[in-house]
Symmetry: C2
Subunit: 141 residues, 2 copies
Amino acid sequence: MTKGLHDCSEELRQVELKVTPARLAVLDVLEKTNKPIDIATIIDYLEANDIKTDPATVFRIINSFTNKGITKQIQLNEGKFRYEHASKKDHHHLTCENCGRIEDISDNFITDIEGKIKRNKKFLVKRHSVEFFGICKQCQR
Amino acid sequence: MTKGLHDCSEELRQVELKVTPARLAVLDVLEKTNKPIDIATIIDYLEANDIKTDPATVFRIINSFTNKGITKQIQLNEGKFRYEHASKKDHHHLTCENCGRIEDISDNFITDIEGKIKRNKKFLVKRHSVEFFGICKQCQR
DNA sequence: TGACAAATGCAAATAAGTCGCATATACTAA
DNA sequence: TTAGTATATGCGACTTATTTGCATTTGTCA
C-alpha cells in the first residue's frame, strides 16, 4: 500500500465516505491531472487502468466529492462540467481558445471585491467563478 | 409597426441576419428580461405570445446571435447556458443560491487584471466570465 | 463474522443541444 | 410585383451529459 493511496483513504474517511477502489481511483486522477478534468476523461483513465466502473458511478462519486467539498465544479463554457481538487489554493484559469490548454493564475484580488460587494450590495458572496478565455503564449506566434 | 420592432430589425440587418418573426421575438424577450435567460424560458415566452417555433429553431437563433455578437453566453453553474443581450455594459452577476435572483454589479476592476495577465503570463485575454454566488440581501434575514 | 447501511452496476429516463433534410420565407434584382 | 435564390424553419432523429430506480454487492463496525 503506497503512501498516496493511504492519504486518499484518509481523505475519504474524514468526510465519512466509504473507501472503495473506484473512489480512490477518481481521487488519483484528480491529483495526477491537477487541472479541471471532465467526467469522460476520468472514465477513460479508469478504463486505461483496468478499474471497472459504470459512468453512473463516476457521476455519483464526483457528486459526492463535490458535496463533501473534496472537489470543485467548474464550467469553461462547454456543455459539461469539469472538476478540480478543492485543496488547490484560490486560483483562476486561463483557457486558450485555440489549443485548449488551461493555465492557472493565483487569486489575489477577488477577496477585496467580495468585501466591496458585501458593503455596497449587502450580498454575501460564498463562492465565485472567475474564468479568462483568450490566446495562450504559444498560440500567439 | 412600433419603434421597438423597427430597432430590432435594424439590429438584425446590421449583422446580416434576415428579419424573421422568431428572431424579433427572441430579441424582444432578451430586452424585456434584461437578465441572463435560458432557452426554456425563451421558448415559454414565445409560446405565451403565440409565436410558433421549434426548440431547434430557438437554439439556432440564439447561436447565430452569439456568433454575431448580439448575445453573450453565460454559465451560472447549471447544466445549461443562459444568454444576455451584449449591449449591456461590462458587468457581472450576483446569483443568490437561495432564491435564484440575479443582480448585476458593474465591472470596474477586471480590466486591470487582464493587463496584468498579459504582462505576466503573455496570455491574451479575449473574454472573461466572472460570477459570484451567495446569499442576497433579502434572503439573509 | 454477520448485519446494515452505503456503494455499485445496469438499464432506462431526462435534459440540453445538434443535425439532416424537405419546405417555407425573406431579400434581391429585374 | 414578382421570380429566383439563399437562408431560415419545422420536424424528427440523434448525441452527449447527467440522473434515477432497483437489485446486488461491498465496506464498516460491533
